[in-house]
C-alpha cells in the first residue's frame, strides 16, 4: 500500500491536476507551462495557508 504524507499527497495532486489544467486551458506551450505552474503554486500555497489557519483555529 502506498501511504504518502498529507503534504506529499497535496504535491502529487497539485502536479497532476495542474498539468491537465495547463494543457487544456491554454493554447501555446509557453502559456500552458506558465498556467500549469500558476495552478500548482495555488494548490500548494492554499493547502499551506489553510493548514495554518486550521492549526490556529484549533489552538
Amino acid at each position: 500500500m502506498f501511504s504518502p504524507s498529507h503534504f506529499t499527497a497535496v504535491l502529487l495532486f497539485g502536479l497532476f491536476a495542474s498539468t491537465v489544467f495547463g494543457i487544456t486551458q491554454r493554447e501555446t506551450p509557453k502559456r500552458m507551462f506558465r498556467y500549469g505552474l500558476y495552478c500548482f503554486c495555488l494548490f500548494v500555497g492554499s493547502a499551506i495557508v489553510l493548514s495554518w489557519v486550521m492549526y490556529l483555529i484549533a489552538r
Binding site: F16, T19, I23
Partner: protein, 135 residues
C-alpha cells in the same frame, strides 16, 4: 483574364471522420483523443497525469464507487465513470472494493474521482481541438 478557381486546402487526416471520435476515444482512454489529432506531446502528458493519478489512488487503497444509494455515491460514481476504461478494467479486476478505513484510503478515493473528472476535461479539450474552437 479569368482567374483559375483555387483548390480547397486538403483536409488533414485528423480532421476527417466522425466529429465526436476524439471525445469518445479521449474518454475511454486518457490522452487518446489528442493522439488521434496528432497532438502527441499533449496526449502523452495528459495520459501520464490521469493514469498516474488513478493508479496512485488505487495504491492508496481508494474505493471505486459501484452503487448509487445516496447522492454522494451517485456523484462519486459519475466522477469514477469519467475515467472510462480505467474504471471498467479496475472494476473487472476487483480493485478498489475494500471499505475505506484509513485516512490515506479516503485521499485515494478522491484521487480516483478527480482523475475521472480531469479525464472528462481532457476529452472535451480534444473535442474542441477537433471542431476548431481551440488550436
Amino acid at each position: 483574364m479569368a482567374s483559375t478557381p483555387s483548390k480547397p486546402a486538403p483536409t488533414a487526416p485528423a480532421q476527417q471522420g466522425f466529429v465526436f471520435l476524439p471525445l469518445i476515444a479521449g474518454w475511454l482512454i486518457p490522452g487518446a483523443g489528442h493522439f488521434l489529432l496528432r497532438k502527441w506531446g499533449r496526449g502523452a502528458l495528459l495520459a501520464v497525469s490521469i493514469v498516474c493519478m488513478f493508479a496512485i489512488g488505487l495504491a492508496m487503497q481508494g474505493k471505486l464507487y459501484s452503487n448509487a444509494h445516496d447522492i454522494l455515491e451517485i456523484l462519486g460514481l459519475l466522477g469514477d465513470l469519467g475515467s472510462g476504461l480505467l474504471y471498467l478494467v479496475g472494476r473487472a479486476m476487483g480493485l478498489g472494493t475494500d471499505s475505506v478505513q484509513l485516512t490515506v484510503a479516503d485521499w485515494g478515493t478522491r484521487f480516483i474521482v478527480v482523475a475521472g473528472l480531469l479525464n472528462v476535461i481532457a476529452a472535451v479539450d480534444a473535442h474542441n481541438l477537433r471542431t476548431g474552437r481551440k488550436s
